[in-house]
Symmetry: C2
Subunit: 210 residues, 2 copies
DNA sequence: ACCTTATCTTACTCCGTAGTAAGTTTACTC
DNA sequence: GAGTAAACTTACTACGGAGTAAGATAAGGT
């Protein structure tokens, strides 16, 4: 069995085990056994438990980012591309649940290097989304220019919402990624255009309009 | 030193250490030492490492929920109460960063009981928010009734957005909780009222596709 | 046939740390 | 001032699991 193939097999199994147990509770012994292999092979190919986890992380983060960026690159307005990117994201989560769990929120538990890798991946997504938001706004409303801070705020809110909606998705398996992305766009995008036109909400009781 | 006081001291220290290192990497030895006490005391009062963590979790989850619910209980329209609840939430995170880290991203790593406690707390918040959303919509627009599924969707998006915005907050320490809550309300609420009036967003067709 | 390199295994070592046994001091009661 | 209960300590044990040493097998290459 050639090394390349074995490595991918090991990573496949490791993703399942890490997703099921979490990084610390997962044991290399179990991963090796499920991969039909002995432990020293894992160490020969992936160096250490941390190296193994990083390999999982990198492979799946690349896959997600590739799907995301390919969707965002496809033609149309920035908002259309943002929508396509959301569809790609929800599609990825629906199709690779274990990968998403691994990528999801393990940063605080892990070593410096791993936490840095996770944070970097999230930062990249954030920048991508912030860019789409800024350009989308600029195109939709030529006059208003969104500051970097505002675009970043919106990006954080959007990414966080998408993230949390993966839970909702789990309880509504019949909902398509497209439908979820569409709902989210409706929640956010329609409002933003109106806010940019000056229609703001304030806690002081403003009644009678709407 | 009476037991009640010691317990709270231990929990205080434990929150810091759990926040800094994560559940597994945190050692009871370190917590005991920082609390100026020996390890068996921790076991005498809190039973086990898991018991210690659960005590931290419960104390801080109660504090957060209390602040949240008190804000949401105060008078005004549902949307006003939702806004107040968001302010309370961001205020809590700003004021008790370590507590938030502990409550925040540790669910996947932990034992059954702990994961269940975290999930339950999140579920409670979600239900609370979903209720506010549903009633807020009903009040703002008497005709449209939001289904439970939709209210839940919005609640997930809102809670996830708020969650993620705590990161943004960390990089913008001069921003007040009130300001952040206001921005988020503007992002979501204004749009929702328009969407309910039928102004939906849809991906504009691109020729040759779809 | 012999050497080398890649794949793979059994059978360990070693360490961190959760959890405990047994004992000590302080303080309060009767 | 003996009895006792709470607050507290030192000094262990136990064990899971990361990582490794040493060697087996198989497949070319010369």
């Amino acid at each position: 069995m050639p090394r390349e193939v074995r490595e991918q097999q090991i990573i496949d199994v490791a993703i399942q085990v890490f997703a099921k147990r979490g990084y610390h509770a997962a044991s290399v012994d179990e991963i090796a056994e499920l991969a039909g292999i002995s432990k020293p092979m894992v160490y020969l190919y992936l160096d250490s438990k941390e190296g193994l986890f990083l390999a999982c992380l990198r492979r799946e983060a690349d896959r997600l980012m590739a799907a995301f960026q390919e969707a965002a690159r496809d033609g149309g307005t920035p908002e259309r591309r943002l929508h396509a990117a959301l569809v790609a994201f929800f599609g990825f989560v629906a199709g690779s649940r274990d990968s998403w769990v691994v990528l999801h929120r393990q940063a605080s538990e892990l070593s410096e290097a791993i936490a840095a890798a996770v944070a970097e991946a999230r930062r990249a997504v954030m920048a991508q989304v912030a860019g789409l938001v800024r350009h989308g706004i600029a195109e939709a409303d030529g006059k208003v220019q969104l500051g970097d801070e505002d675009a970043d705020f919106v990006a954080h809110a959007l990414v966080g919402a998408a993230d949390s909606l993966t839970d909702w998705m789990e309880r509504h398996p019949n909902q398509s990624p497209e439908g979820i992305a569409l709902r989210l766009m409706n929640m956010v995008w329609v409002g933003m255009s109106h806010v940019l036109e000056g229609e703001t909400w304030a806690p002081s009781p403003v009644r009678g309009e709407d």
